[in-house]
Amino acid sequence: MCGLIAVRDFSAASNLEPAVQRALASLARRGPDGEGLATVEQTPRTVLGHRRLAIYDTRTVAAQPMVCPHTGNSLVFNGAIYNFRSLRDELRAAGCVFRTDSDTEVLLHGWRVWGEELFARCNGMWALVIWDAASGDLVYCRDRLGVKPLYLCHDGQTAILASEISAIADFRGGYPAPNPEKLFDFLVTSYSEQSHATFFQGIQAVPPGQVYRLSRTGRTHARAYHHWPQPGELEPLDAEALHALLADAVNLRLRADVPVASLLSGGLDSSIITHLALKASDSPQHRLEGAFTYAYREAEHAAVDESAKAAAFMHASGRPDLHRIVRFAAIPSADELMSLVGVQGEPFATPSILASFRTYRAIAEQGFKVVLGGEGADELLGGYTVRYHPLAVRSALHQGQWRQAARLMGHHTFPRSLLLNRMIWDMPLAVITPLLRRLRPSVQAISGDLWSAQHQRMEAIRDNARLDLEQRLRDDQLSSLLPRVLRMADRTSMDAGIELRSPFMDYRLVERALVTPAAERVGERYSKVLLRTAFRNELPAAVVETPKNTGFGHAEQFLLRRLPWEPLLEDLPAELGSFIDVASLRRRLSDPHTEHSTLWQALSVALWYRRFYA
């Protein structure tokens, strides 16, 4: 887990290294344990830079950029290859000799021996750049889901790859202009990951699951090293297979040369992860040493405070000594809120991530560097009843299955208004568009300029909103919800120098889940029915049978009006008016009926603009 930058310059510009050093400084929080730089002494000039968070083999011999003694290839890498030991065994059998106990060196040898076939063998999360000495190509690649970030900015003269946008901005000497298409999509839908464009013009997220090569003459080639299966291509999950895959995923992710903790909200996903990690703990480098729960100081939030439930779980697990509760006031100060905005780097969909932002910092202060979390379970296994159950009803209605629709409605797992909300997307755009403009708070806050320039995008947004349940889960997993979650989680964890590992993101599990019918994953009365079934015999009923209704940061999500927005919306640059109607935003935030609403998206854009353009 680290931060990286790679720059290839095709012009005759001056020394690149000072600018790369400057950019690396902005990645310091991602890698507090060391810094390295390697310059390729060939044209075009190429520099690789790295900030290290030492997890596997913490000695300096495993530092980066790491150079292959046989080929001269250089590697910078952010992430973790969980199966690096078994890959190393294969490479040893092929004659490779290792100097370190790190996954970085396995990647370097693996690239020499297997070339692009290396990546399909890896189980992990990664963003990496290799300077391939033989071809002179700059090779870059992200893991299958894009858990680890990598951004590209290429202006024809200089190509910059970096873990965060801030490093690109520091290298170039400023942030590019906002991307109006992205802002529009975000304000309408709250999603921003449906394409690989970012909120900054000209900066793209590198698509996951591909190997890219940037040649010495500026040619870019891409090749997919992985494809996600369609139903029928693999065997669907059952409870037993899900249990086994998840247990192995946790087992793989527990190994580290630094202390490992888990995030324990008290809900289903984090309890399963903690439970499996406790069961698998068997040696100093393979042991769960802490479980952290976020809680509130104020009694008024007792209803959404799950710390007692988490404590009971740890007690029942026989390891109450590992449990740590970190308590905070729900409402952040203006400084803390702006700190989160700066860490995120782009507008984000919910203020609830304040909870994990704070928790990771608290965990780091207690000496932990690796955290196991439950990210991805809700998207993969259908955890959002209010999102998925109305879609199941809508699908039944579309197919004329009235009894089925009535039965699903009878479970009362979502407010009935949500069904209307989904059905509206079946109407013509001429109806949908004005309704959204009139009723959805974040759309009301879109400036007239942005609306005029971008409202033709409603057609694509409407098409996406019409996906059925099966398509919705796949899209959520691969294109919209999960990528959004991953971006937010990476920034908040790495800000604290914490490597977040998510067993639900194990590609073997994801592949099998994607070919499992949505209805079997989601269920009718509860969410994530398959997951509940898989662990019903091992976990307390209070964990397995409780519907999902809270989670980290639940209170923050619903206290929008009480956030310290007033001083932060003062003295905003006039140019923000091209995107947001700030007066309207202020007025709506002052409305006593505004609590949990999409208005956060508009506020998030305003705060982002203040942080990066004011």
């Binding site: 095709f10 590209l152 290429h154 202006d155 590019p176 298409e181 890219y212 500026g218 080639h221």
Partner: protein, 331 residues
């Protein structure tokens, strides 16, 4: 919802220019409306490349041509009379005219390669007029590639990448470059396959031609070239461009014609930055093409006609309408 005629096999949209790979300055114009493929017309402010994004994967492109191409473009389907089909298309006449431009520069015994010969009219004409040349070609449409070639001897290969470096003295690509996923790599491979002093001739539709409808942009044409961007591509592949501009044949008005030479020392380099005036001119050209009720009705009428009459009849009507008097006179 819009009726999507083809949305399969698309590549991931990395946000990079198809020609030069830059991410900065990619302007989005409008969505492709011929097939409602989900692609978008874009322009690169660095190299002046104009392209549909996302493109296709290799497998996706194969599937597109195997399954969708003739369904989307009924003018490519013979109807009742193959002879009339080719006569109205004018393939042989055009082939003869192209050969007149090329043949004088080729020496006896030269190896001439055609990338994407389609029905084989140019190869047939060349074989008849220049039996001294060695002919080879690459055409994925195996079923139709000999339709006009007859019994003439041509060595077909899988692709440019299978050719021996320096094995060709001439290479032609008529209306091919706009179809390929990666035009620059195609030109790189062409340069590699040509011997020093080997010659390249390319013909592509001209972005500055007289098209007036967004239906001109469709998923079969992934890239759209102007004189500057085509020259830029050829130079980046290492070619010395001898000429590049509007087609010298009046019958091929609206197309570009590039003639280039492979120098002894092949030096590939990145695409250079085009002048701002070029970019502005492209923006202005594309922005002039609107989409109104009349366009939508035209598209709808065509779709309905194909449904009611079948693609064969519609294609026949299109060929009859577009047949050129000079081609007819030369029958």
């Amino acid at each position: 919802m819009r009726e999507a005629l083809w949305q399969r096999g698309r590549a991931i949209d990395s946000g990079q220019c198809r020609m030069c790979g830059t991410t900065v300055g990619q302007r989005h114009f409008w969505p492709e409306v011929y097939a409602n493929s989900g692609q978008q017309l874009r322009r690169c402010a660095h190299c002046a490349g104009v392209y549909l994004a996302p493109g296709f994967t290799e497998e996706g492109l194969d599937e597109f041509y195997a399954v969708a191409y003739r369904r989307l473009f009924p003018a490519e389907i013979p109807w009742h009379s193959t002879e009339r089909f080719f006569r109205w298309r004018g393939d042989r006449i055009i082939a003869r005219q192209r050969l007149q431009l090329i043949a004088p520069t080729l020496a006896p015994g030269d190896n001439l390669f055609e990338l994407g010969p389609g029905f084989g009219a140019f190869l047939a004409e060349t074989a008849m007029q220049r039996p001294d040349l060695q002919l080879s070609a690459s055409e994925p449409d195996v079923a139709n590639r000999t339709a006009l070639l007859g019994q003439h001897k041509v060595h077909f290969v899988e692709g440019l990448d299978t050719l021996e470096p320096g094995s060709l003295q001439g290479l032609v690509a008529f209306h091919t470059l706009e179809h390929v996923i990666d035009p620059l790599t195609t030109l790189d491979l062409a340069a590699r396959a040509l011997s020093p002093d080997g010659q390249l001739w390319i013909e592509v539709p001209d972005l500055f031609g007289d098209w007036t409808s967004r239906l001109y942009v469709h998923p079969a044409h992934l890239s759209y070239f102007c004189r500057d961007s085509l020259r830029n591509l050829a130079m980046a592949a290492g070619f010395e461009v001898l000429s590049c501009g509007p087609h010298p044949l009046s019958s091929l008005r609206g197309n570009l014609w590039l003639h280039a030479r492979r120098p002894a020392q092949l030096l590939q380099r990145p695409l250079h930055a085009e002048a701002e005036q070029v970019i502005q001119a492209i923006d202005s050209r594309i922005s002039r093409v609107g989409w109104g009720a009349r366009d939508a009705l035209r598209a709808l009428a065509k779709r309905m006609a194909i449904r009611v009459l079948g693609p064969g009849a519609v294609g026949e009507w299109q060929r009859w309408r577009h047949r050129q008097p000079d081609r007819e006179q030369q029958k």
